[in-house]
């Protein structure tokens, strides 16, 4: 009996920590897909790029992965702005985002994966940091720092973004884009410019999310695919475009996955996200906190 209580508590804690980390992976998609309606399926690909940058700098200079993630934020922001510009000119302006825009992002996802394979091979890569191997025990509970640090960083990032969206002028403008572009234009604001900022922000989150990912688990180029189902499941589950919804969705998925891998074996975990996604779409497409 003691054994299973132990198992239960740790599955719960692992689920919450995992869920915290999932917020970092998903918050970018919540902005691009949820708010801007840009179905950026290449998002996980950029997260893996973030992981590899953290890996390279960590191995060469021994810098902390989280610090690398923070330093790389501007570069990812610029990348995001650049990609949005291409997307806008080639697809959004011509009204072709549905078919060709999707194919475009799919192509980018594929290209990032293949380039990483060509440059780094298919080996798993991991980072070294002082806290990676530390685990604190509090009673029954185990708190592996490998999970706690990414979770805390992710939640901080979500909080900062929530404050930005809710409290600043630019953030409110981003929410306004989601509601009525035409009205924004009548207020003499350029919706394209605002969307560019928002999309760039969503890609910038990949830098930190990637750094968190490689702390939690070893990364290989094709791992991004497992996250596609997860990020969209969380995004839909929480309600499109709602950052608090993202937190709830992420925690739910984290818990369900953690319990699945504890009681059925980790090889079943990838199917959970998809099941949850289909269930949400079938029962409540607007999500838990849908607009």
């Amino acid at each position: 009996m003691f054994d299973s209580a132990d198992l239960l508590v740790n599955a719960l804690i692992a689920g919450l920590l995992l869920g915290g980390f999932y917020t970092a992976v998903t918050v970018g998609i919540s902005i691009s897909f949820g708010i801007l309606d840009i179905v950026n399926i290449a998002h996980p690909g950029f997260i893996i790029v973030g992981s590899y940058i953290a890996y390279i700098v960590n191995e060469r200079f021994g810098l902390d992965p989280i610090l690398v993630g923070l330093l790389a934020l501007p570069a990812f922001y610029a990348l995001g702005a650049f990609i949005y510009q291409i997307y806008y000119v080639s697809f959004e302006k011509r009204g072709q985002e549905a078919l060709r825009g999707l194919a475009f992002f799919f192509g980018i996802l594929f290209i990032t994966e293949v380039v990483l394979i060509i440059v780094f091979g298919v080996d798993y890569r991991y980072v070294n940091a002082a806290y990676v191997d530390t685990t604190y025990n509090i009673g029954l509970a185990q708190l592996p720092m490998r999970m706690v640090v990414p979770c805390v960083v992710s939640l901080l990032m979500l909080a900062v973004l929530q404050l930005f969206v809710g409290r600043t002028f630019l953030g409110r403008a981003i929410m306004a884009v989601a509601q009525d572009q035409q009205a924004l234009r009548l207020m003499a604001a350029d919706p394209v410019k605002i969307k560019r900022v928002a999309f760039a922000l969503s890609i910038a989150t990949c830098s930190l999310a990637g750094a968190c990912l490689i702390i939690i688990q070893p990364v290989d180029p094709s791992i991004g695919r497992d996250y596609i189902g997860r990020v969209f499941a969380i995004c839909v589950l929480g309600g499109l475009g709602s950052l608090p919804g993202t937190l709830i969705g992420a925690m739910l998925l984290g818990l369900v996955e953690s319990f699945t891998s504890t009681f059925f074996g980790p090889s079943w975990a990838p199917a959970v996200a998809f099941g949850l996604l289909l269930l949400t779409l079938a029962v409540r497409p607007a999500g838990l906190l849908g607009r």
């Binding site: 399926i41 594929f110 996604l277 497409p285």
Partner: protein, 375 residues
């Protein structure tokens, strides 16, 4: 041109391709040609949903792998006729889904061994078509009522889920994969064929039939219905087009064709593992080929898959298979940005200009003109 005539012509072309490849006397041509033809089927199938209806399916690999694993299950089943998946046992508590060694199933076993095994490939393809079609229908039913993006995302995740099932199913080899031993020869109508030629023949016929199906749909009421969905779904729905029904037909048909393309694959490759069967390359190729060729008509996927498929074979042999994948990705992105109508869209205006210059108007019917553009 009428559909039966076109089908006969397509099959004649397929037979000609087969005969020409045989006279070349080089088995490698069969191996390379099989891959190209497989992509003709995948691209054509993808285009029925993607090009005609405008719904993106990222799960081509899932449907393809479903077909391939149908063959693996069958192959294993012939050698060990006890279908006892772990998940079935853990879900229902029963031992086996189907146990042909048990005495009450003796009749079924006889039926299977006498009729199905000798005709295995065509029968397997039919089974694969049913399975993949049903999965397509199910996924479509859950997601097609919502915005198009949800369907795309669901198909993307479908591959991950089906892969998880296969990885957890030790009967078909789990994550280690399964060997399927290809017979050396096969006897058809008294003639001995090397098995690879037989596989090639099946694939070239399937390619001819899929192209004929795509062309028929394009010119039928169904095809016009699909086009209204692509152009303006809301307006179509408002004017009485049964959009959900049409979309489900497209998804089912497209999935079934992809499954059929996958069924002979284990016999071709000899060793099938989940990571490669469900891999992104199939999904990317079956999107890239129609996009590069042009999505609005049946010629586009055909041109795209033959050109890109052949190019890939050359690049794989001369440079490396990673470079070949990179090439596909870059071409896909380049084409969707620069040439949204694909190669057909680039060439067609030129052809029309030429035709206007050299022939008097109305001397040719529209159909034969487009057929000559294809050849």
């Amino acid at each position: 041109m009428r559909t039966p005539i076109f089908l006969a012509l397509a099959i004649a072309v397929a037979a000609l391709v087969f005969w020409l490849t045989r006279t070349a006397g080089n088995d490698y041509l069969f191996f390379a040609g099989y891959t190209v033809l497989q992509f003709v089927v995948l691209a054509t199938a993808w285009n029925i949903l993607g090009g005609y209806c405008g719904y993106v399916n990222f799960g081509s690999a899932a449907f393809f792998a479903l077909g391939a694993y149908t063959s693996v299950v069958f192959y294993k089943f012939v050698h060990d006729p006890r279908l006892c998946p772990d998940f079935w046992t853990s879900l229902t508590g029963q031992d086996c889904l189907l146990d042909l060694t048990a005495s009450e199933n003796e009749g079924l076993k006889d039926l299977l061994m006498t009729y199905l095994v000798p005709q295995s490939l065509p029968a397997l393809m039919a089974v694969a078509a049913v399975i993949s079609g049903l999965i397509g229908l199910g996924t479509g039913y859950l997601t097609l009522r919502l915005r198009g993006a949800f369907f795309a995302i669901a198909t993307l995740a479908l591959a991950v889920v089906l892969q998880t099932f296969v990885v957890n199913w030790s009967y078909v080899g789990g994550s280690r994969g399964a060997y399927v031993i290809r017979p050396n020869d096969i006897e058809i109508l008294g003639f001995q064929f090397p098995y690879i030629q037989y596989l090639f023949l099946i694939m070239v016929m399937l390619a001819a039939i899929s192209v004929a199906i795509a062309r028929t749909i394009e010119r039928s009421k169904l095809g016009y219905g699909f086009a209204t969905i692509r152009d303006d779904e809301l307006a179509a729905e408002a004017s009485g087009v049964p959009t959900l029904k049409l979309k489900l037909i497209a998804t089912t048909l497209s999935g079934a064709l992809m499954g059929m393309a996958g069924a002979p694959f284990p016999y071709y490759i000899g060793y099938l593992e989940p990571a490669s069967a469900f891999g992104l390359p199939y999904a990317v190729n079956s999107i890239a080929m129609p996009m590069i060729g042009g999505t609005t008509s049946w010629i586009g996927p055909l041109v795209g898959s033959v050109l890109l498929g052949t190019l890939q074979q050359v690049v794989t042999v001369t440079i490396s298979s990673e470079m070949n994948l990179l090439l596909v990705g870059v071409l896909l992105v380049a084409f969707v940005i620069v040439a949204p109508k694909g190669l057909v869209g680039l060439v067609q205006p030129q052809l029309q200009k030429l035709r206007r210059k050299w022939t008097r108007p109305s001397s040719k019917s529209k159909d034969s003109a487009s057929a000559s553009a294809a050849s």
